[in-house]
Amino acid sequence: MDAESLLLSLELASGSGQGLSPDRRASLLTSLTLVKRDYRYDRVLFWGRILGLVADYYIAQGLSEDQLAPRKTLYSLNCMEWSLLPPATEEMVVQTSVLKGRFMGDPSHEYEHTELQKMSEGEKVFEEEVVVQIKEETRLVSVIDQIDKAVAVIPRGALFKTPFGPIHVNRTFEGLSLSEAKKLSSYFHFKEPVELKNKTLLEKADLDPSLDFMDPLEHDIPKGSWSIQMERGNALVVLRSLLWPGLTFFHAPRTKNYGYIYVGTGEKNIDLPFML
């Protein structure tokens, strides 16, 4: 959610039951403004909160002019002091995929994971158990990246693409209409499109290239991994991801208010196919 409309967004997203306490809210309002100034971001988003056993991580993201450029992620333990996280790489994701369980809450905590690695000594090749240490910070980075790639949502029309390439916020976005708001096809993944080029020409003919340049949520696998609900009697549309429980996207139709927030344990719900 946009740091500028933080209070309103938190209120709209409160249907999932997780929010922020007043002291955190106040600290965020102050500190995010400072972050924007210090790092020269165009827009700062409050991404959410990852619940750890000892402490919680508060995550923010900074965007540059081009909305789809890789975002910079910052974390904080007290909503006041923010530290920049390194960008996520493929190896990080692979490395941390073996880690399970809750986050500790201490960024310097190291997970120990025993692996069987083939070691060769001379001519002998044997497997040895190697204890690999993975830092929690790495895990944090890769989890945030996975969540972003999988379930960060933006409504159709909120961003538009100019012929020169960069993607801008659409200042004439008036919100989705009620009928559009109930359909999953009006929401896009907030990341570089992956499925778009696989579409047939017939499908592409109906798309507007300045608005439809991201993947819609409609064809997500598994089908039904999004729960779409109207709250407050049709005045608010709430999308909740079932794959990463804790991610809530809200949008008030016919207004400009929209945003998403993740408040959860940072674990994927692998049991989803059994639960539907």
């Binding site: 039951g17 997780q18 929010g19 609900q229 049991d271």
Partner: protein, 726 residues
């Protein structure tokens, strides 16, 4: 501005055809007129753009130029009115090219073409049009092209009469030759260059007028002209003054167009899309209105100020908000009003907001309720009676079946399998059914009561993991099959969550002063508690430090599915009396062990860990001001379960999906192993069925035997006949 381009194409067909009939006449008339009159020009008058809805505007300008008094019939009468009757002489009149009349498809039209370069201009124009391949004009262009070549005056016969204007200005051509703008081909010229270079004011006014007339052409599919659209667009921009309008020009354009075609509905008509919103708002309005009429207002006030069963939701919400948990304050208030409505409708003794369970289509708001003493739940009794009646029928069925079977020679062996004994459910107001639960989907909707939970449902609920859809009558499709629908599953989950996560500070509740409870059969321990009037409150820091300061105040659910253990086999023996003939399958009676769970009011420090993680996380709500903080405890086993305590107050809340946390993946139970086949005994022997060949062989053999028997008979008859004959 690609959009209007296809539209004007059909348009000019008609006017041009009209023009074609009218124009030649006029042209011939014009020829006879002396030059000065031809060179009249109507001075610029600012006429209203929107009023000029037809392309006749261009026609009007032309006719006004040539022979205003001849007044050709125009469809748009107001055009005549627009033009004042003044006639001004043009000095060196340069007629701007009025190409835009007929080639309206060609967007950047050089209306400012001067008459001087007529021939070359027209040729280049034709060429350009030819290049652009405007099909509709092609034939026309061809004809005009051919005609223009040899003869200037021949242009008068063209139905695209506008071109004729320039020809009359031929003598004045030299003036314009020096104009650098004329060097360019028509397509490169925009509107602007003309205005900078024109030596004479009048032609410029004429040009502007013509340009405006062109812009006022309406597009084919609608009555909107480009001029009007641009006016709307610019008005919108000037009114709203957005920042950096150039970057959002396309969106503004699109929005303006859309607004024209989709105007706001009448204020008298309802917007169909917003119907459900208004409906919901109406329903919620009912919550807020007081039910009583004015006269009884005072009495009601007094009653309400006294003790009411409705809890102070707002206070609880405030404390939970300090912890960063809970719904927004207006949502909490609406829940409060809904609970108040519930209390008024049902005979409720105590009520508590249990929490919110999220579902796929809708959510559930759950209220935990205790009925007043003596208020029996009528529904439950009826259901029980039905069940007992059902059970009574079965034994009869069995007896009849037995009689029938005895008559049949082959006795079908009785299956050895017996359904496992049903553990009886707990009584109301005890164990898992201590409280009644009401659910509703949204505040304002009616509350529905959930049925009591049976131990079997709890046992099965432990084995499955399903999302709630939000509809109470939705079936639960799962393996192992869940005995019930979503309402039962919901109730089972609520029971499990309550048993696991309802906690209170140590000392808030104490056991009532009764002894001898421990001697009860089953050793279930005490199952009742009462508030401790001497509770002093535990300092928040201590509450956060040690889990021993919190206790469970709900009973643990045993693996059997109940809170107090019941030996299922005892019941079974009672039922056995009906069917004594049946073998007693439990000769080797399975010794069922008594199940024991932790007693009531066990501290949290005794809770089992989940993979080396403590099942509870305790925090101060605000680390910046510990003196006013609230102690918050979060369950790691049931994500979404929270409890807070501060001073003498405490409360539990659950907001979540309703599932337990498990570090491993969910593994559904495998199907049961295949049952053994019935062992062969002299009574029942298994044989293989004869194959088709064997059957056919048998049939053939039988037929042969029959045939042989018949032959013998015939032979005998013959013999007899022969004997007779003899």
């Amino acid at each position: 501005m690609g959009d209007p381009s296809p539209d004007p194409e059909p348009q000019p067909q008609q006017p041009s055809s009209r023009r074609s009939s009218q124009v030649p006449q006029r042209r011939s008339r014009e020829l006879s007129l002396p030059q000065p009159s031809i060179s009249e020009e109507v001075p610029q008058t600012p006429f209203d753009g929107p009023a000029m809805q037809s392309s006749q505007g261009i026609l009007a300008s032309q006719t006004n130029l040539q022979d205003w008094s001849s007044g050709p019939p125009l469809t748009a009468q107001e055009n005549l009115a627009m033009y004042p009757t003044e006639e001004a002489q043009l000095g060196g009149v340069e007629y701007p090219s009025l190409n835009m009349g007929f080639p309206s498809e060609l967007q950047p039209q050089p209306y400012l073409e001067e008459g001087g370069m007529q021939a070359s201009r027209n040729v280049s124009l034709m060429l350009q049009q030819l290049q652009q391949g405007q099909g509709s004009l092609f034939q026309q262009l061809d004809s005009t092209y051919l005609e223009t070549q040899p003869d200037y005056l021949g242009q008068f016969n063209m139905y695209q009469g506008e071109d004729l204007q320039f020809d009359q200005g031929v003598p004045h051509g030299p003036y314009m030759r020096d104009d650098p703008t004329l060097q360019y081909s028509p397509s490169e010229l925009g509107f602007m260059p003309f205005s900078a270079e024109v030596p004479e004011p009048e032609p410029r006014e004429l040009a502007v007028q013509n340009a405006k007339a062109y812009l006022l052409q309406t597009s084919a599919g609608c009555s909107l002209s480009l001029y009007e659209h641009l006016v709307n667009l610019l008005t919108k921009i000037l009114n709203q003054r957005p920042e950096d309008p150039l970057s959002i020009l396309e969106s503004l354009n699109r929005t303006t167009q859309r607004e024209w075609f989709h105007p706001k509905l009448d204020t008298m008509r309802d917007d169909p899309e917003l119907e459900p919103t208004y409906e919901m708002a109406e329903r919620q309005k009912g919550l807020f209105l007081r039910s009583s009429a004015g006269g009884e207002g005072e009495q009601e006030m007094e009653e309400e100020v006294a003790e009411t069963a409705v809890p102070n939701i707002m206070e609880t919400a405030f404390y939970f908000e300090q912890a960063g948990v809970g719904l927004s304050s207006d949502e909490s208030f609406r829940i409060f009003m809904a609970l108040k409505q519930l209390v008024e409708q049902q005979p409720i003794h105590t009520c508590r907001f249990w929490g919110k369970i999220l579902g796929l289509s809708r959510n559930y708001l759950v209220a935990e309720v205790e009925f007043r003493e003596g208020e029996e739940e009528g529904e439950e009794e009826e259901v029980e009676e039905m069940m007992e009646g059902g059970e009574g029928l079965d034994p009869h069925g069995e007896e009849e079946g037995e009689e029938d079977e005895e008559k049949v020679t082959d006795v079908i062996p009785k299956p050895m399998w017996r359904p496992p004994p049903i553990v009886p459910k707990e009584e109301s107001r005890s164990g898992t059914n201590k409280y009644l639960y009401f659910v509703c989907n949204e505040p304002g909707r009616p509350w529905t009561r959930l049925p009591h939970v049976t131990p079997l449902q709890i046992v099965q609920a432990r084995k499955i993991k399903k999302f709630f859809t939000g509809y109470l009558d939705a079936p639960i499709v799962s393996f192992p099959p869940f005995p019930g629908n979503e309402a039962n599953y919901l109730r089972a989950q609520i029971a499990r969550i309550s048993a696991a996560t309802h906690i209170s500070p140590l000392g808030f509740y104490q056991f009532s002063e009764e002894e001898g409870d421990e001697e009860e059969e089953g050793g279930a321990g005490r199952d009742s508690y009462e508030e401790n009037p001497d509770f002093e409150g535990i300092p928040v820091l201590e509450l956060v430090d040690s889990m021993a300061n919190w206790v469970h105040h709900t009973q643990h659910i045993l693996p059997q599915g109940r809170c107090t253990w019941v030996n299922p086999l005892q019941k079974l023996e009672e039922e056995e009396e009906l069917g004594e003939e049946e073998e007693k399958a439990d000769e080797g009676v399975e010794e069922v062990e008594q199940e024991v769970g932790p007693p009531l009011l066990t501290p949290l420090s005794e809770d089992a860990e989940i993979m080396h993680i403590s099942p509870w996380t305790a925090r101060l709500s605000c680390s910046l001001c510990p003196q006013y903080s609230v102690a918050v405890v979060r369950s790691n086993l049931w994500p979404g379960a929270y409890a807070y305590a501060s001073g003498k107050k405490f409360e539990n809340l659950y907001i979540g999906w309703g599932h337990k946390y498990s570090p491993e993946n969910f593994n559904p139970p495998l199907p049961a192993p295949i049952q053994h086949e019935y062992p062969s005994s002299p009574d029942v022997m298994e044989m293989s069925d004869p194959t088709v060949e064997e059957e056919q062989a048998l049939k053939a053999a039988q037929e042969q035997a029959l045939a042989a028997a018949e032959e013998e008979e015939e032979d005998e008859e013959e013999d007899e006949d022969e004997d007779l004959d003899d």
